[in-house]
């Protein structure tokens, strides 16, 4: 019997339209701009990608269970502000908390991750126990976190970090930025969590069919709370890194990061309808989004055009997800 070829070029190009387009754009940018294909630019790409990949990993769990997390960006902002407050240099004149003794970087990181984990757990409890749609629950949390951040920081931007904190983002080991190690560690953890643990199986089961998962004995409430708690912890880690990378933090930090993360997940094949998504896909999605931004910066394109391009990429990603949903059902 003749075996029919399963590879369809048109379908492949249609499914990966954005990725192919950005690859072409990167090639064009490399051929027309100096210093694009350099280790320095690659290092810059990795530094930009790392916090966003960590945020996207956090959001991915919510998306796989048919949820979302619109508070991600503001939580990142709050985490960056908390990190900044704890890790300002002791001799910095405009210190936000002048009475605070010198806090070790690791202690500040743990404190920030725990606080953001609590916020994530609250999100999870509201969604799992009260059955509030994730869109509404996290939209409310977004505003609450933003308001809390303004109160805590008095709306003052913060800088003057101690060198050990700044080095977390600026330092490198064998020319590989420290930020990349954080991203690799998080990626490996999520890869293990999604593919090798009961939690991962429960997560995909809930995303596939929540009622069926519950009937099959999955503790849906506990799984959802764990997912949002873990997401909050990831925002905490990402916020800590974003603060170190930027060398300062304010209430504006993290604005719009949630949409970038959701878009990156969607580009990477994490379906907004749940039950589908891989860590490798998330990495590709984040890479595509960041590569698009860096290419347009190299080409000297006005940031206004970059925003329009990013918006179109999000629309195409959602349309592709919708197409997959309609073709599958």
């Amino acid at each position: 019997m003749e075996k029919k070829s399963s590879f369809n070029v048109v379908k492949f190009m249609s499914d990966n339209a954005i990725i192919l387009l950005v690859l072409l754009l990167a090639l064009f940018t490399g051929l027309t701009s100096k210093n694009f294909f350099t280790t320095r630019n690659f290092s810059n790409l990795v530094i930009n990608m790392s916090p966003r990949f960590i945020i996207a990993c956090g959001v991915s769990g919510c998306l796989i269970t048919k949820g979302t997390d619109l508070s991600a960006g503001r939580q990142v902002g709050l985490a960056a502000c908390l990190s900044a407050m704890l890790l300002q240099s002791v001799d910095y004149s405009a210190r936000m908390l002048p009475w605070l003794p010198d806090v070790p970087v690791w202690a500040a990181l743990i404190a920030v991750v725990v606080v953001m984990g609590i916020i994530g757990a609250i999100n999870g409890c509201v969604i799992a126990f009260l059955k509030v749609p994730p869109f509404i629950a996290t939209l409310g949390m977004q505003t609450i976190v933003y308001g809390a951040c303004q109160i805590i920081t008095n709306n003052q931007p913060m800088g003057g970090f101690k060198s050990s904190y700044s080095n977390v983002a600026l330092g490198s080991f064998m020319k590989i930025p420290y930020l990349a190690f954080f991203a690799v560690a998080v990626g490996a953890y999520f890869l293990f969590l999604y593919n090798k643990t009961r939690h991962g199986k429960y997560m995909y089961a809930i995303g596939g069919n929540e009622s069926a998962a519950q009937v099959a004995g999955v503790n849906v409430v506990a799984t959802l709370i764990r997912i949002y708690l873990l997401a909050g912890m990831m925002y905490g880690l990402a916020g800590f890194l974003v603060g170190a990378k930027a060398g300062g933090a304010s209430t504006a930090t993290g604005f719009g990061y949630e949409l970038e993360a959701i878009a990156a997940c969607t580009i990477g094949g994490v379906s907004a309808n749940g039950g589908v998504g891989r860590v490798s896909g998330i990495l590709v999605g984040v890479l595509v989004f960041e590569a698009l931004k860096i290419c347009l910066q190299f080409l000297g394109v006005d940031p206004a055009y970059t925003f329009i391009a990013q918006g179109l990429v999000i629309i195409v990603a959602v349309a592709l997800d919708l197409r997959k949903y309609l073709a599958k059902k």
């Binding site: 347009l296 055009y305 391009a309 179109l312 059902k329």
Partner: protein, 58 residues
Amino acid sequence: MDEEKRPRESDRPDRSQLTGIENFYENFRKVPLKYLDLFIGLCVAALVLVIALGILNR
């Protein structure tokens, strides 16, 4: 080329059991896939146009 198969009316899920996003996606159930493909193609073309305009106007 073979048209992609679409589900029958009776195969469709009960909308009251669906999440918000699924409900939103169900609104497009009657839209032929070729129109969706056309929309995606137009968006990609618009993306290329925006990038080209951005490069020309720098």
